[in-house]
Amino acid sequence: MKRSNEPVFWGMFGAGGMVAALFTPIAILITGLLVPLGIIPAEQFSYERVLAFSQHWLGAAVIWVIVSLPLWLCMHRLYHTLHDFGIHAGNLVKALFYGVAFAGSVACATLLLLGLI
């Protein structure tokens, strides 16, 4: 039997799952509810402050983790759901699915890095 390269994707999926379970709800709560409802004053999340946050290496890292890792979770889940529905997608579809997660991660990193330099 051939060694599967699934551990790589499963690792990213696991990391993404952790982020999506622990941090994504907080991010949604803050940006989707608390700020629009005025419970957190909007100026705390003003464009300038958020920009400054993203231009600090720690802030950039936090944004990258919250944006990129759940992408891997989603694409992994969707890909395996195809299989569960009896659609046995080949390597092309696999490349496409994980490619989306990869492209998203790289795009996010690039934009953040541009802000850092």
Partner: protein
């Protein structure tokens, strides 16, 4: 006073039936009566041609697996009183039907054999060295997974096995994990080749239905997830050992 229940059974007699057909039997039952006893009643009193497998009558031999209203069950651990609306009984799903409720389990047996379900040790301790101590913690690593009775219910429940028969499957992977976790065993490296494969732990998408239907609370789904963790570690180690 015995009540009467309608039991529908999917019959298949290869010499007369082109395909499986349903047949209904009226079975008088009492509170204590199991499905296995109902089948015995049918065979003794109504139709001696009915075929089904059984041995222990106490959920330990694993022979009497069958589908009851579409759910994999042991006939001897299923009671008529719990099915007031009647029962539809069929051969275990995901296996070829041999005759009536008897399925061909050869593939399952091969999978069980393939994981080397025994302690492998090229240098066993001699009796003079005294007994092999194992702490409660050592034992807790594998005990639950050693309770499997090889009934195959988890294979009937597993959608992955249903889709692709090359998947090693829940019970075999649980038993594999059981031996890998036993500190008297030295065969882990051999077995990891199976765990690491697409046909091994990675064929599982963690549906978890296997653990729900298991009559012995083995929780094969948990064993497979632990197998994935093992395999992921093995993957990282292999990156630093090229040529393997």
């Amino acid at each position: 006073m015995a009540e009467v229940m309608k039991i529908e059974i999917l019959r298949y007699r290869p010499e007369t039936d082109k395909e499986p057909v349903w047949q209904t039997f009226d079975v008088p039952f009492t509170r204590e009566m199991s499905l296995l006893e109902a089948l015995a009643y049918i065979k003794d009193e109504l139709d001696p041609t009915l075929s089904y497998r059984w041995s222990c009558r106490m959920a330990i031999c694993g022979s009497c697996g069958m589908m009851v209203n579409g759910i994999p069950k042991l006939g001897c651990k299923t009671f008529l009183r719990d099915y007031p609306k009647g029962m539809k009984v069929e051969a275990l799903a995901n296996f070829p039907i041999e005759r009536d409720l008897v399925v061909d389990m050869s593939d399952f047996i091969e999978k069980l054999e393939s994981v080397k379900p025994y302690i492998i040790n090229d240098n066993p301790k001699s009796l003079d060295d005294g007994c092999h101590t194992q702490s409660p913690k050592d034992m807790a690593q594998y005990k639950q997974f050693s309770m499997c009775i090889n009934c195959g219910l988890c294979y009937a429940a597993c959608p992955q096995y249903g889709l692709d028969k090359s998947f090693t499957g829940p019970a075999a992977l649980a038993i594999l994990h059981r031996y890998n976790q036993d500190n008297r065993d030295a065969g882990k490296a051999e077995r990891m080749k199976i765990v690491n494969a697409e046909e091994g732990a990675w064929g599982c998408t963690f549906v978890g239905y296997c653990s729900q239907v298991c009559p012995k609370d083995v929780d094969p789904a948990a064993a497979i997830q632990l197998g994935k963790v093992d395999s992921a570690k093995d993957y990282v180690i292999a990156m630093f050992k090229p040529g393997e």
